[in-house]
Amino acid sequence: MAVPEQKQSATEARLSAMELPEPGCTRAAREAALARVCEMGLPSRRDEYWKYTRPDTLVDPVALPAAVFQNDEKPLFDGVDRLKIVFVDGVFDPDQSDDLSLEGVRIDRLEDICCKDIHWAKDLYGVLEARGHNPVPRPLAALNTAFASDGVAIHITQKVSKPISLIYRHASESSDAILHHVVRVEEGAEATILENGPAASRFNKCMEIDIADGGTLHHVRAQGRDHERRAVTHMFTRLGRESVYKSFTLTVNGVLTRNEQVIELTGDDAVAHVAGACVGDGDFHHDDTVFITHDAVNCESRQVFKKVLRNGAVGVFQGKILVKEGAQKTDGYQISQSLLLDDDSQFLAKPELEIYADDVACSHGSTSGAIDETALFYMRSRGVPEKQATDLLTLAFLAEAVEEIEDEALAGDIVDRLDGWLSRRA
């Protein structure tokens, strides 16, 4: 299908400002990705998949500036023993990062995978992304594969003793970063990957995750609060037999965030949980777009997304479960809910199920509501002031999503962040 003229010119305008990185082993993958971008065209607001979120600021040749936010809040995951990998405005910073050696995992910079001949990474780069355009194209992910300027290859071969922590610092007001990570979890191996920070004024991040049979990956992410920052992220995950993927994302402020999760359950008895909690105020716009494909027997998927919105903030949820023919005994659960703290805020939800197997249990629910007045009065009648009661009820609303984090210390850090957000608001 030909790309409409307007879209084509927007795509050309963006591409003309970019250059494919130096030749290397990923060159072929990058060229193929670039061809996909040209074929699909970058998203425009006319695309059904971008109906609720305007993509133009993510597509435009030049990123809009975003102020770097300073406050004295304790850095997230500060008390957690972890291996730190720091990127500043999308560039790996070895000085701020820890030594990358850790038992059970090998971590390399993307640019080194060719000279070090790291086969699995070369073989994974761009592959899950390329598979992820059916039935809906995700051209910003292909753009990422083509032009990513940095990233890491994380090879998990055993149970790793501490989390691998990707820290994204934002330093320049005009930064426009494209990062691409590839992750391979070997058979029976297990690790936790943390991500946090505002990253850049405009951030396009892609992570491709391949989990072998019996592997487990926990992912906890907190997207930083620099108010004017914009981000589009894609996580492409393929799960083997009896493997587990559990991902949680906290988003606190940021003028525009689009998080896509594309998950394929390809081995029997695999489990994938994705959860998100976001709190937004004013011109905050947050979009969770999830596509889960069940292509094996007896797999479980779970989506729990909760959004707290106030002062005109907008939340979007597009979540789909596709159960392919033969994916019997599928257990799919999806819930998306918003708590609207005033009449100006909006929640737009599009839950979808598409099922071609006959022995499955899939459920989905989506709600939008205000603070429960009866509960509020009950708490106040016990002496809890209105603001404090509202905050407690807000945290309670988010709890189902936060509880998806298995590690208590990490969950505690996330709750502290939410507490901080609430206490800064009168």
């Binding site: 009866t374 009950y378 106040r380 016990r382 002496g383 009820l393 309670a396 709890a399």
Partner: protein, 251 residues
């Protein structure tokens, strides 16, 4: 202690007068019971005293130790010592029972200018009070009233009352939905709190509860007013003859 004078209340949203001149004084150390048929305004009275939205006071006053209750927010009334045991205790998913109770205790102490209770002192207090009401550790850990049986919810109300130690306790149909054993347990919990400095207003349909919580004064409420007051024998009269005779007599 609690003084209600000529209280007139209508619904905020519609022109419906519910209370039409309630006069009532509850002295410290006394238990007053209010009985009355459905729709007489008993629950409205309890809500208005605790500060629930949706009601408009058109005339009259309500004070606690001379302080005007009607001007205050619900949490301010609570800090002053007003406690309402709900007819239908509210479920709050996601908020732990202990967290809720501790937040409430410390918010009240803070409002009164007292020091917050330490975690260990709080725990000690709750455990001791919970034991008397046969509330186990599991119930304390669960979210507020979520998945509680009717009896458990009511016992939880009394636990909150026992921990918060209010001056003026209002019990709104605390006996509804309780079996005999549960009612006894709840009544024992209430009786344990009776002392010279505390007043009780017990709202009930039935005399049953008053066998266990012996009132000093019984009032009959009908059509938004207290139409008759007397001793405990008045409750027995209702039990035997229903409200019909009394209402006919006062009309």
């Amino acid at each position: 202690m609690l003084e209600i004078k000529n209280l007139h209340v209508k619904l905020e949203e519609e022109e419906k007068q519910i209370l039409k001149g309630v006069d009532l004084t509850v002295e410290a150390g006394k238990v007053h019971a209010i009985m009355g048929p459905n729709g007489s305004g008993k629950s409205t009275l309890s809500y208005v005293l605790s500060g629930r939205d949706g009601y408009e006071v058109t005339e009259g006053s309500a004070t606690l130790d001379g302080e005007d209750l009607l001007e205050l927010e619900p949490e301010e009334r609570a800090a002053l010592g007003v406690f309402l045991a709900f007819q239908y205790p509210v479920e709050i998913p996601g908020v732990g029972n202990m967290t809720f109770l501790r937040t409430a205790v410390n918010a009240q102490r803070k409002a009164r200018g007292e020091d917050e209770l330490s975690a260990s002192d709080f725990l000690k207090l709750v455990r001791e009070r919970a034991k008397a009401l046969k509330i186990d550790a599991d119930m304390l850990k669960r979210p507020v009233n979520v998945g509680f049986s009717g009896g458990e919810k009511k016992r939880n109300e009394i636990l909150q009352m026992a921990v918060l130690e209010p001056k003026m306790c209002i019990l709104d149909e605390t006996d509804s939905g309780l079996d005999v054993d549960a009612m006894k347990l709840v009544a024992e919990g209430v009786n344990a709190l009776r002392d010279e400095g505390r007043g009780f207003l017990v709202i009930t349909h039935y005399q049953r509860l008053l066998d266990h919580i012996k009132p000093d004064v019984v009032h009959i409420m009908a059509d938004g007013r207290i139409v008759k007051s007397g001793g405990p024998e008045l409750a027995l009269e209702v039990e035997h003859n229903g409200y019909g005779d009394i209402l006919a007599e006062v009309q």
